[in-house]
Symmetry: D2
């Protein structure tokens, strides 16, 4: 998996904060632009998050080139509808560079791993055989396992990054999409450290785990209640 | 493939037309509701489409249960972001009823078909073997070919039905998604015949084909120009 | 202000729950449809909310006719982008039935109220005078105060109803939009009591107030922390 | 009215074209990035538009500071839901700098103009009087005419710019919003001339006018048909 931030709104955090500030001010966003100190940006950024005033985060967008994720994961990813995707077509691009993802649980069992690799290679051979027999690529790909790698370009604004990370950095999400959003977070941190630091699973803002079973970071809501009653 | 309309906004066409009419009227939508004749609904419906005044079409929604499409097609389908999807999870539902889609181009070649079926059955056997070896379903599924069937519930409003059909009923779209939208159109026609009749590929409203090569229904834009210049 | 639910997805709560259930089941939504007892619907409905699994709530939509709100409030309302609106046009519908909204703070001061009414009436007279002088309605309306009433048709799905009520039923929102969403909630309660009961300000799910100052229902986050530290 | 492009995705046209190209290529967007000549960008840009392949245009966003539009126009503007807005609050920012928009049709009639200005000034005086009498700003503003100026920050991606300009540059739209989108187009042209040139009313791509009456640029659909029949 390789995630590269290929483009983004310059000065993303200043853009967010200046826009937000202008809504409760006589000044315009561009007047505020040059006047905000780093400390003021810190404070305003935190205030917006604490009060759940998230719409100004939409003014900064991030464009990623994502390579080497499986079609299992790309199918999950594109369910986030408040983002833009341009995905490599399996209809028009025949699978020459045949690369696939192997789950770690399978890698750890050598006998399964061997069969996994062999099954994927056979599928590719059969795929090529079908192409030679005149089957269009768009149909031959039906035989390709979901492990097959895909690449796509994704643009997401900072508000949706906060939301999708809140879901996908949760350890109850599937390992591959967790890894994807960890890479996304790492890329954002390089250019927008305040924002990057806030890309966290949902339990952090909630203060509890809302899944059936907690991974241990936070107690579930019922565990929390039990604990509080003990105190009283 | 099985597509069933399981729910929808009652009186969808009247809802659309009464809402639209109320925007240019002293009367409210509910006052107009009972007063519009079938002929008036016909006329207003046509006027809205002709003038590209499409927002009132959002007031009527349709919920479909879609079964037996491949993951190839569900991955394409969920790219339509102005709709709601609840898809069967391959993480939590182990593949017991193992059903898959076979492209007609493969069905027509008996030797390929036999190998296609055998490859899919082997993948399932290996999948089951991995489950027994303790691999979680969410990881074992990486070996499953994209032909595997999925089921989902989709809700789409009439405006987005018009748009997605304009793309997906085009014969340049992949055969399986064309078939899916033909089934969607057939279901809509039963309860909203005016709307159903308007679910057509994009060349109908455009008056020309905007793909590189036409399927023959309409000429491409450059073919059209050539024809017009001949006339002059 | 008059809010009327003029249409909605039949059996909205069953639709939501059956769709959600089908995602983790071998059964389809329509197979589950007839089998779910009222008690099961109760439980599943609550589980979805508790776990923040909100996407199935998008399968049920509600269409309201909203009359007699000011343009102050309609301008706030249409900022909720995940909904559909058809609003009465001030370009094409001249203001014959001249009705306006009076804030209670003004009603309570008789001398202000008299001047308020007189100012609004004068504006209308001047508006009519401009129409007679050949000014188009779309321009004459610039003189009309924001108190002027408007009417619109709005369709919103249950997920967005939960979200927008969480913001707009907060007593820090403006009184007129609070009143509007209280009426929306009352209409939903009649046909979908489980859903209606969940249309609540954001402090209820959060367990604290995230505004700068609390209205008293819940303590703010910092008040909550202070209280917890006292206990320890 | 003052429209300033305060931020945007750098290299917007290259971003769009590289993303689009990567979907039908073995190469990634960042590999294509440096390799595309200006001529290739021209050609690909045009191909995307001609074929209606618009989703890659979502990868480039533009953030505008918009000042000095009336609340008539801001209410129309925020109806474009695929964009992000942060608007100056009339709840929290009392109207000290009292500026309003005057329609040209009114400016041209001196007697109406005088009364228009006087009515607006009186409304402001009464507004100030209400504030002094303890009425909250959020309520006092009900008396302010819709001509009052507002300011906002808007972010819109290139696909939605194409769409909203297709509607709002049509001369049948209200003059003030036409002027707003002409300013938006002018700002975009400075940094993305290929895109700016394509921001045009809908009749240009359609080849005819779909309004009831044409402004003269293109004939209506029925006028077009009549003309074609004459030829045959």
């Amino acid at each position: 998996m390789q995630v590269t931030l290929i483009n983004y709104t310059p000065n993303p955090e200043l853009t967010i904060v200046a826009a937000a500030r202008s809504s409760a001010s006589q000044s315009t966003a561009e007047e505020l632009w040059g006047k905000l100190s780093s400390q003021q940006i810190d404070n305003l950024f935190k205030q917006l998050l604490d009060s759940g005033h998230l719409s100004p985060f939409e003014h900064a967008s991030f464009t990623f080139s994502i390579q080497g994720i499986s079609r299992v994961t790309s199918h999950q990813l594109v369910r986030h509808r408040l983002a833009s995707y341009t995905q490599q077509s399996q209809r028009y691009v025949p699978l020459k560079q045949y690369r696939y993802v192997t789950p770690p649980t399978i890698s750890r069992q050598p006998s399964l791993l061997a069969k996994y690799q062999q099954t994927l290679e056979s599928a590719h051979e059969f795929y090529s055989q079908m192409l030679e027999a005149g089957i269009p690529a768009e149909d031959a790909r039906y035989i390709i396992p979901q492990a097959i790698e895909t690449q796509l370009v994704m643009t997401m604004n900072a508000r949706e990054l906060l939301y999708s990370c809140s879901l996908r950095l949760c350890l109850r999400a599937q390992w591959e999409i967790v890894e994807l959003f960890e890479s996304i977070k790492a890329e954002v941190e390089k250019v927008a450290p305040r924002l990057g630091a806030e890309l966290k699973p949902k339990c952090y803002p909630l203060g509890y785990c809302d899944e059936r079973e907690s991974c241990g970071i936070f107690p579930t809501k019922s565990e929390l209640k039990a604990k509080e009653q003990q105190k009283d």
